[in-house]
């Protein structure tokens, strides 16, 4: 069954989807199955099997691109100049980014809804004995260790720069430099995730702060102590502040992680001199995704880490 553009039939989509289903079945049974519906840990094997299948499907998918080194004959002719002014894939990537805009906007609206409804902590209002009736933002807890968040911000900004530099290196037929810049991007992305994991670990276990606050003693949360409701740690099931913080920053982190997986493929291909002045669109497309992830962080950082 031949088609245009060299897209002959391929089993990759079928394999990937079956694997996704297996992954979800494993995940659901592992967390909610079993006799008491509290989780049947034997199913983690099924989950891992599913992940392996998804990786296999992904590799089957990119097989076509592995040896490709030019766009000749690939690009679809467009007959309407305005709409054909960029390549099909670039247009498709921008449209995909619109869906991602909706994803993060949903998370931010939910956060905004709760934050607008619940008054922030202030010494002037009655927050209850455990500060449970006020919003004590994650920012207050992070404040004393803000340096990690700032390093993360710089890491992500720098990684955006390195991706652009990799693209220009590829366009100048400089495979070595392109590979190095992509590896730098990978390193910066990994640094981001590692520091984030460290931050999360510290917050979850309550290591980030010193004294405990007492409403009666009039202590000031932001600078000196932590609210009693976070006595046992700050995690996603502790309070609404925790839930919104971890899920939003976690979703962002998941997007960084997926980007790193794609980056792995790009590095491997750049390393074997797969990108040159004629074929470098893939780096540009990845770059668009990566910059978008950076833009999301530009909004998440001030409204979760600073305020």
């Amino acid at each position: 069954m031949s088609g245009e553009h060299g897209h002959h039939g391929t089993p990759a989509p079928f394999v990937f989807c079956v694997a996704t289903a297996i992954m979800f079945i494993g995940l659901v049974m592992a967390t909610a199955g079993g006799e008491n519906n509290e989780g049947d840990t034997g199913y983690w094997f099924v989950f891992i099997l599913g992940i392996a299948g998804m990786i296999t499907g992904f590799m089957m998918w990119v097989q076509d691109y592995w040896d490709q080194d030019s766009e000749e004959g690939e690009e679809i002719v467009g007959y309407h100049p305005f709409w054909a002014s960029i390549t099909t894939r670039k247009f498709g990537m921008w449209i995909f980014l619109l869906t991602e805009v909706m994803v993060f906007s949903t998370l931010l609206s939910a956060y905004m809804r709760y934050r607008a409804a619940i008054p922030d902590y202030s010494p002037d209002i009655d927050c209850g004995l455990y500060f449970e009736e006020c919003w004590v933002p994650a920012a207050d807890i992070i404040r004393s260790h803000l340096i990690f968040g700032v390093i993360n911000t710089f890491a992500l900004l720098l990684s955006s720069l390195t991706v652009v530099l990799a693209l220009y290196a590829a366009r100048n037929n400089n495979s070595k430099a392109a590979t190095r810049y992509l590896i730098a991007t990978f390193f910066l992305g990994t640094l981001f995730l590692v520091l984030k994991a460290y931050e999360w670990w510290e917050m979850k276990n309550g290591h980030f702060w010193g004294d405990h606050c007492s409403v009666t003693a009039g202590q000031d949360i932001g600078h000196h102590c932590v609210a009693p409701k976070y006595e046992h740690g700050f995690w996603l099931d502790t309070s609404l502040e925790g839930t919104t913080f971890y899920i939003t920053t976690g979703t962002h982190g998941a997007h960084v992680f997926v980007g790193l997986l794609a980056l792995g493929y790009l590095i491997a291909k750049a390393n074997k001199e797969g990108y040159n002045e004629k074929y470098n669109d893939t780096i540009e497309l990845f770059g668009l995704y990566w910059h978008y992830v950076d833009v999301v962080w530009v909004f998440v950082f001030p409204f979760f880490y600073l305020y």
């Binding site: 897209h7 199955g33 869906t99 996603l236």
Partner: protein, 759 residues
């Protein structure tokens, strides 16, 4: 003469008014006991003529034996005490009403205090019995002693005076187990009917597979491996295709397969509602919740949308003159996420119960321990996969339609079906991600204990602010949910435009206004979602804006309907099956649209929300709109896809049965809804039994009528007459290629001429 007759007339008028006033039912107490027509009111609302609410300090007691033996007669005593009227003696002291779910209640012989009104099967007090607060009567046990009998009783503690002021009542239910009855634990009911059906189908499918393979092994003398290789050679191209035509057919076939499964679930619903039932009579109430949940989710996400995507996949490249979609492999992935995601959703049936939270998944049901587990988790996970499928489809189609149109195919010359899909995928692009996030948050709440929707309020009982907000789920769901229903109806509009113009032998009337109407509907659909939330105590300004915009969206819809009518008026109509379905669709969709306007009004919605009126409305627009339009679409495009014509006679019979029995089934739902029958309840007020039986019978016939369609498809595929390139004389580009189209759809990219330029 005039003066005299005038006098007589006015006196007569006054007298009749007086008679009418005195005949007007006043709310009084019933010292004579509860008889027809008051019975159903008391059963539904208690003694609310006396007091709108029960008073908890009034104690009603029924003395019962420990358990019962079949056929035995027991003497029971019912008594009222406590409450503000706990006076020792006098007249006008008490009233009662008691009913038993099994067995027979009778007054004692020669007892003047208790009566069983003629034609009823409950007991109540007599005028003399009104002076007491304790009554005795007999109860004869039923023939089966393994049931659990429920007694529903109301007792009214009267204050000694006439009338119904100052009386306090309460109600109670009492259970009595037979000697051989076994208390049914929660969730244990053996396999529910849907589960039995699914296990049954699986066993049948496996058996069929074994039989078919075995048959081939014997008749062709092949080994097992050779048989599988043969089948694999046939199957493999289908599993790996990236061609939009084959993917389109996969979508349509899969969509209709899930449609029939969801249809069977619908028949199970109507059997459950054939008469009022107790918990566990046919389905347990929880199983019923699963049934309507899966019916709704399957119909919308696994039947309607795939059928839409199927036609879109097949036709859009043909209609805009390109060879395939922009991203063919992504297209294949979009398709395969559908059956795999569907299986994940249905895994609930194999693990103790499918998701039972309604297709809308409202919290706190969805996050509570009462939701089936892991069935609800499977329901969430599968829908995430389906959401991904739709998003990828949207990206693909938007890129294709915007970028890959052939020369001459400007926007205002695209066929209306293409326009409808264009607006549809635009809505999908922006709405599905919101739903996907909501599902992920729900999953996080269920699995990781996050508090987006499920946290209880901390702090004191006076209501604090730091609570999770269940309404957040409703906002997120309906922000997606409302564009979603336009997503399923806009393509139907597109199909209607195609069919009506072809079979009226003229281009659609008012093409430009049709385009603007669809785009307006698409944009406004994001602003109206609050009309699903009128009863949630949402911000009144929000509700007000929503009411106005919801009514506003009727305007472009109405423009479209009038344009179709104008097209027909100005053309010469060819009555073939697709056109008949299109005409039927216009009628039923218009009815559904009108009830939509009724529901848009906040005061009316407050009365009708969550009643069968809503069920009637959306079935009229979804079945009467989407399904009928796409059935017409199948009849219309089947010749293009297969090269064979479908049988006209069978088509007309299919239409006649479908149209008549659809209306017979769903129109009365308006009435039962106005009478107050709630939706998503597994039983209902016995007074509505006859209506519901009528609905159920009609629904069964409607369901079976679809088998005519299945047979027609199969028969025509095998034996239908040759269709040729353009059997209907259409002029959009898909009719310019052969039936079925060649592998790469066009031998050379065509240039579009307008309908007037074409032959």
């Amino acid at each position: 003469m005039k003066g005299a007759s005038l006098k007589i007339l006015s006196v007569g008028f006054l007298i009749s008014i007086l008679v009418a006033i005195s005949a007007f039912p006043t709310s009084n107490g019933f010292p004579t006991g509860i008889t027809d027509p008051t019975t159903s009111t008391v059963e539904a609302n208690g003694c609310n003529c006396h007091n709108p609410d029960p008073t908890t300090s009034v104690i009603v007691e029924l003395t019962l034996p420990e358990n019962f033996t079949a056929g035995e007669i027991y003497t029971l005593t019912f008594n009222i005490s406590g409450g503000p009227n706990d006076a020792p003696s006098g007249e006008n002291l008490g009233g009662f009403f008691i009913k038993a779910s099994h067995g027979v209640l009778e007054p004692l012989e020669n007892d003047t205090l208790v009566q069983k009104p003629f034609g009823e099967n409950h007991l109540t007090h007599t005028t003399e019995g009104n002076d007491y607060r304790e009554w005795n009567f007999t109860w004869t046990a039923p023939e089966s002693d393994d049931v659990i009998v429920t007694f529903s009783a109301y007792g009214n503690s009267v204050n000694g005076a006439d009338g119904n002021q100052g009386d306090y009542w309460n109600s109670a239910t009492f259970s009595l187990m037979g000697v051989n009855a076994v208390a049914v634990a929660d969730g244990e009911h053996g396999l529910s009917t849907p589960q039995k059906l699914i296990y049954g189908f699986t066993i049948i499918a496996v058996t069929l597979g074994v039989v078919i393979i075995g048959n081939r092994m014997v008749t062709k003398e092949q080994s097992f491996e050779e048989v599988l290789k043969d089948y694999w050679k046939y199957l493999y191209p289908w599993l790996t295709t990236t061609d939009h035509k084959y993917i389109g057919i996969l979508y349509i076939v899969t969509g209709f397969a899930w449609f029939f499964i969801a249809g069977i679930l619908g028949m199970i619903i109507r059997w459950q509602l054939f008469e009022p039932r107790l918990d566990g009579d046919f389905l347990t109430y929880q199983e019923y919740n699963s049934t309507f949940t899966m019916h709704g989710t399957t119909m919308i996400f696994m039947a309607a949308m795939p059928i839409i995507f199927g036609f879109a996949n097949y036709l859009i490249p043909l209609q805009i003159g390109c060879r395939d979609l922009a991203f063919p492999r992504l297209n294949a992935m979009s398709y395969w996420l559908l059956p795999t995601g569907g299986i994940v959703i249905y895994m609930g049936y194999f693990t103790g119960g499918a998701g039972d939270v309604g297709w809308t998944g409202y919290v706190p049901y969805a996050t509570d321990a009462s939701a089936t587990k892991p069935g609800t988790d499977f329901w969430v996970a599968g829908q995430i996969m389906l959401g991904a499928s739709s998003t990828l489809t949207a990206i693909n189609f938007l890129t294709t339609i915007l970028r890959m149109r052939a020369p001459g195919v400007s926007f205002m010359r695209m066929p209306l079906f293409t326009w409808s899909i264009f607006v549809t995928v635009f809505l999908l692009l922006l709405a599905i991600p919101v739903f996907a996030v909501a599902l992920i948050l729900l999953m996080a709440d269920r699995t990781f204990g996050t508090l987006y929707f499920s946290g209880s309020c901390a702090g004191d009982l006076m209501g604090t602010t730091a609570c999770s907000d269940p309404i957040l789920w409703q906002h997120l769901f309906w922000y997606f949910g409302h564009p979603e229903v336009y997503i399923v109806i806009l393509p139907a509009f597109g199909v209607l435009s195609e069919i009506i113009s072809t079979f009226s032998r003229r281009p659609i009337f008012g093409y430009t206004s049709m385009v603007y109407a669809m785009t307006t509907i698409g944009v406004i659909s994001f602003v109206v979602y609050g009309h699903h939330m009128f009863t949630t105590g949402a911000d009144p300004l929000f509700r007000f804006i929503v009411m106005l915009t919801t009514m506003l969206v009727a305007v472009p819809t109405g423009i479209k309907i009038f344009n179709w009518l104008a097209t027909m008026t100005g053309g010469s109509i060819v009555t073939k099956t697709p056109m008949i379905f299109a005409l039927g669709t216009v009628i039923t969709f218009t009815i559904g649209g009108i009830t939509g306007i009724i529901l848009a009004s906040i005061p009316l919605d407050i009365a009708f929300h969550d009643t069968y009126f809503v069920v009637a409305h959306f079935h009229y627009v979804l079945v009467g709109g989407t399904l009928f339009a796409f059935l017409g679409g199948v009849y219309y495009w089947f010749p293009k896809m297969t090269g064979k014509m479908m049988n006209e006679t069978l088509g007309l019979i299919h239409f006649a049965f479908s149209f008549i029995f659809f209306n017979a089934a769903f129109y009365p739902m308006h009435n039962v809804g106005i009478s107050g029958m709630p939706r998503r309840y597994a039983t209902y007020d016995p007074a509505l039994t006859e209506m519901n039986q009528f609905i159920s019978v009609a629904a069964f016939i409607f369901g079976f009528a679809q088998l005519i369609f299945v047979y027609n498809v199969y028969y025509s595929y095998k034996y239908g007459e040759e269709a040729g390139d353009d059997p209907w004389d259409g002029w959009s580009l898909e009719w310019a290629t052969s039936s079925p189209p060649p592998h790469n759809s066009f031998t050379e990219i065509p240039t579009l001429k307008s309908a007037e330029e074409a032959e």
